[in-house]
């Protein structure tokens, strides 16, 4: 299932890429994995087709560079191809794939770090009074996202994965291979750092009510 595409290559709605019945995907994944393991290389195309969106988006959140995100996602698929036989079917295919991808992205970014500015250098956006409101909001949101990228790695990854996995701590923890408690603690510390960096975010940005509410409540 392909999401709709708008002019700039972005979909309009969060989660559109993941709106696939999980059971069907799991069955298809299993069937494709079995076919690949039986020697049918072409069957891997189904896996790439289904998971290219999530993996490219996950990589994008790690580096904020479209070209690099695709390269990293491709590398993750290649590693998945090589290690398909090592998927012990105790966990779902998606859990295994995301964990493998997170490892690939982490090590790729260790080898060649993404060009990001230190957290304290991320400019705090100007207030909406000085600019067009929509533009100010966009700048503000961009600044927050850049600030996430500038967080220290141990706090950045939980924040990235928590929101990527639609605020599911358990899934984020499984992807990182860490206990949930550790992820919660790092998430909390990451938020604290962001809060310190943007102390006036509440006053400057769009009112809360105008930003779509996520499916789940934000972890407190």
């Amino acid at each position: 299932m392909q999401p709709r595409r708008d002019g700039n290559g972005l979909t309009g709605s969060r989660g559109a890429l993941f709106e696939m019945p999980a059971a069907i995907s799991a069955e298809e994944d299993l069937a494709d994995v079995n076919r690949v393991l039986a020697g049918e290389v072409q069957a891997f195309e189904g896996i790439v087709r289904r998971w290219q969106g999530p993996l490219v988006n996950m990589a994008w959140r790690y580096c904020r560079d479209r070209g690099r995100a695709e390269e990293m996602a491709q590398e993750a698929f290649l590693r998945a191809w090589r290690g398909l036989a090592s998927w012990r079917r105790e966990s779902s295919f998606s859990t295994w794939l995301f964990a493998l991808a997170a490892n690939v992205f982490r090590s790729e970014l260790q080898r060649f770090p993404a060009v990001n500015v230190p957290l304290e250098d991320v400019a705090e956006p100007a207030g909406p009074a000085t600019q067009h409101e929509g533009l100010a909001d966009k700048q503000c949101h961009d600044a927050v996202r850049r600030a996430v990228l500038a967080l220290p790695t141990r706090y950045r990854e939980p924040v990235v994965l928590y929101y990527f996995h639609e605020m599911d701590v358990a899934t984020a923890a499984r992807t990182m291979g860490l206990p949930e408690g550790t992820v919660k603690a790092r998430l909390s510390r990451g938020r604290e750092l962001l809060r310190k960096r943007f102390p006036h975010l509440n006053e400057q940005s769009t009112p809360l009510s105008s930003i779509p509410r996520p499916k789940k409540e934000v972890l407190q």
């Binding site: 999401p3 595409r5 290559g9 972005l10 979909t11 309009g12 709605s13 969060r14 989660g15 559109a16 890429l17 290389v41 891997f44 195309e45 790439v48 087709r49 290219q52 969106g53 490219v56 988006n57 994008w60 959140r61 479209r66 995100a69 695709e70 996602a73 491709q74 698929f77 290649l78 191809w81 090589r82 503000c140 949101h141 927050v144 996202r145 996430v148 924040v159 929101y163 639609e166 605020m167 938020r191 962001l194 809060r195 943007f198 975010l201 509440n202 940005s205 809360l208 930003i211 779509p212 509410r213 996520p214 934000v218 407190q220």
Partner: protein, 132 residues
């Protein structure tokens, strides 16, 4: 104990940050992504699998080498102990006897090291050639 309650402003800030990050737009992979990925996968699949080390064939040789080395070690210890008992009163003789007994051991060690180096070198060459 201090209760773990955040001030209202912190909660609002967290919620706002959360909503900003959760409401992020999705990136669509470029149209050539699937084809490029599959091309790399096919290239990878076309590479012949590395030839595994023939452990089964090598096993008799390994067993023989271990047995010979074990036997030699045993003999060496026996000779040294026998010599030590015979001439324990004379330190000079003991040293000479031990030296005589250890002389071939040195050559064995050299031969063993040379074999190891040659094996490592061969593995390195095979690794570079893609056989391993």
């Amino acid at each position: 104990m201090k209760p773990n309650v955040k001030p209202e402003t912190d909660r609002d800030a967290d919620e706002l940050t959360g909503r900003i990050l959760a409401a992020e737009e999705e990136l669509i992979p470029s149209s050539g992504f699937l084809a490029a990925t599959m091309e790399r996968v096919r290239d990878e699949a076309a590479i012949p699998k590395p030839i595994p080390f023939p452990w089964l064939r090598a096993l008799p040789g390994i067993v023989l080498a271990v047995a010979v080395l074990g036997w030699y070690g045993f003999e060496l210890a026996r000779v040294v102990l026998a010599n030590a008992r015979e001439i324990s009163s004379t330190q000079l003789h003991l040293t000479a006897a031990a030296g005589r007994a250890l002389e071939p051991a040195g050559w064995v060690a050299v031969a063993f090291a040379a074999s190891m180096l040659s094996w490592l070198f061969a593995r390195r060459l095979a690794g570079r050639s893609g056989l391993l």
